[in-house]
């Protein structure tokens, strides 16, 4: 197998498989896409499923990004510090910046999960406010999760370069730190939008 970063692996094959499964399995085989069936499917899905998925993605993706960033930074930092031990304590800041993206995810996950309230479907049909809340929490979780995933990778890569350049020339540290701070701010955008989106949550329709 070619490496995992090849577009064949992470784009073309999954998209083709998904499309084939979709065409085969959804509803009436006489129609290409059976919209009635799809409507029934999504209407019957519990909003608690979407809420739980949103919370899980918010924290899971953020931590994936943070962990990814930390190992990118960490492996370079450990190697560079063998020759120039003075860089270790300064460059822990890069690791902390990566860690921050995980904390964003945890914060948003906590905010989201406190918004979940108990409602019941009437005759098997969910109230439209409950549906709205489920999708709002899901969207908010996805926004925050993916923003923090890429933010963590970005900070990790910059942090790795920061460690290497600090080892060669200590005047570069502050300059690269500025880049890193801006990279770290990307995750905050996801957090802000996520919190705004979750403001729409009203499970029973009563504001």
């Amino acid at each position: 197998m070619k490496d995992l970063t090849h577009p064949l692996v992470w784009f073309y094959i999954p998209v083709t498989l998904t499309w084939i499964c979709f065409c085969i399995s959804v509803g009436n085989p006489a129609k290409f896409i059976d919209y009635d069936w799809l409507w029934l499917l999504f209407r019957s899905m519990s909003p608690y499923f979407w809420s739980a998925l949103g919370v899980a993605l918010a924290v899971g993706m953020s931590i994936l990004g943070a962990a990814w960033g930390i190992f990118i930074t960490g492996s370079s930092l450990v190697g560079a510090a063998i020759r120039v031990p003075r860089i270790t304590s300064k460059n822990l800041i890069s690791v902390i910046f990566c860690e921050a993206t995980a904390i964003y995810g945890v914060i948003v996950a906590i905010i989201l999960q406190t918004k979940i309230e108990y409602v019941q479907p009437v005759d098997g049909v969910w109230d439209r406010y409950a549906m709205l809340s489920g999708y709002a929490i899901f969207g908010s979780g996805v926004t925050c999760g993916f923003a923090n995933l890429v933010c963590g990778m970005c900070v990790g890569i910059v942090g790795s370069s920061c460690a290497l350049s600090d080892a060669q020339n200590s005047t570069l540290f502050v300059k690269i730190l500025v880049v890193e701070i801006f990279g770290s701010a990307l995750g905050l955008f996801g957090v802000i939008i996520g919190i705004i989106m979750s403001g729409a949550v009203t499970w029973s329709g009563a504001k």
């Binding site: 490496d3 995992l4 970063t5 090849h6 577009p7 990814w68 190992f71 990118i72 492996s75 370079s76 930092l77 450990v78 190697g79 560079a80 063998i82 020759r83 120039v84 990778m153 890569i157 790795s160 370069s161 460690a163 290497l164 080892a167 060669q168």
Partner: protein, 351 residues
């Protein structure tokens, strides 16, 4: 995929990449060379070098020190660094690092075979071999009488075997054949190395492609320079050029036809990358060419450290360290032979 190695490179190779960058910062700078140039005796040189990365290797040497000892200790430093990294390396990088040392292996084989031809002592020859190019059965090279024996008895177990089997002849070993053997082996080696680097993809392919193209073009140039006035035919000469590089294929055709230095020059100047080198060279001075090519190589190696997440730094570090050892050797020889005025002529400054 280009650019995506940023995310996955550090999984296996991040640690070693920063190690090799650490070693790079230990290379001698212009200031160090200025200090070395001020030395009056070899002991002064040793004293100056003890304040650098070479310190641990030179500090315990007894006082009447010789150039050979200094060079040996400096090489030891490179070899120790290299072996440390090689043992830590994960796959792909490990193969890459092995490829880097095959060049030394070819040189060692040629050295032993030539030495045996001149009836030198094997032990003495083994001491002269580059430690990076050693393999287990190298001492038995001396028994071989012709190329087929050389291959069947010794080289079949070494990584050089595939390069050899492509170019096997029944001819007995003599000066000319050995030199041709060296160059055919080198050609096969460089082709193989370049193909491996291309298969790695990304920044490694880009940077190593550039550096190996320079290496192979320099070899083509040297082959042409050395074969002028010998009985090597044009076709044979052309067979020794690698199948890539900036000169491939039109430049190679012209080089194969070249009969004197000016024709070589006009062939090389058609490549923009080399016209700069030749424009620094006055007409009729071919002696300076070697130094200019070394300077160009050093420049490429130093530039390659500007990019992160690729394997080229390992190759570049080896080349830079070797150039530094040549510099130290030149300075020591100049000091030992009381020719201090000529020190600046031979040094290729790294930074």
């Amino acid at each position: 995929m280009y650019g995506f190695e940023m995310m996955s490179f550090n999984i296996k190779d991040g640690f070693l990449e920063s190690i090799v960058r650490g070693h790079r910062s230990g290379l001698l700078t212009v200031a160090d060379y200025n200090n070395l140039s001020q030395c009056e005796t070899l002991d002064d040189i040793k004293l100056n070098l003890t304040s650098t990365d070479y310190g641990a290797y030179l500090v315990n040497e007894a006082s009447p020190i010789y150039t050979a000892t200094i060079v040996e200790k400096c090489t030891q430093k490179l070899v120790n660094d290299w072996n440390y990294m090689r043992t830590q390396a994960d796959e792909k990088l490990a193969t890459f690092m092995d490829y880097c040392t095959y060049g030394h292996m070819i040189d060692n084989v040629v050295l032993i075979v030539t030495g045996t031809l001149h009836e030198r002592d094997v032990q003495e020859l083994l001491d002269k071999c580059h430690p990076l190019g050693m393999f287990d059965s190298i001492a038995t090279l001396a028994v071989a009488q012709n190329m087929r024996e050389l291959f069947r008895l010794v080289l079949v177990d070494t990584p050089l075997a595939p390069y050899f089997s492509e170019n096997l002849t029944h001819e007995d070993l003599d000066e000319m054949n050995i030199e041709i053997m060296r160059n055919t082996l080198y050609k096969a080696y460089l082709d193989d190395f370049a193909a491996y680097c291309q298969s790695l993809g990304g920044a490694t392919a880009e940077i190593m492609g550039d550096m190996l193209a320079f290496e192979t073009d320099r070899r083509a140039l040297n082959i042409t320079l050395n074969s002028i006035g010998t009985e090597l035919t044009r076709e044979d000469r052309k067979k020794l050029y690698s199948n890539f590089g900036l000169l491939y294929p039109h430049g190679h055709n012209e080089l194969a036809m070249a009969e004197d230095f000016d024709q070589i020059r006009s062939a090389m100047e058609k490549v923009p990358a080399y016209s700069g080198i030749f424009s620094k060279l006055g007409y009729g001075e071919s002696q300076m060419l070697d130094k200019l090519l070394y300077e160009e190589e050093v420049k490429k190696c130093v530039d390659c450290f500007e990019q992160q997440f690729h394997y080229g730094v390992f190759y570049a570090y080896m080349k830079l360290r070797e150039q530094e050892i040549r510099n130290v050797m030149w300075v020591s020889e100049c000091v030992a032979q009381d020719q201090k005025g000529r020190i600046a002529d031979g040094i290729v400054y790294l930074f």
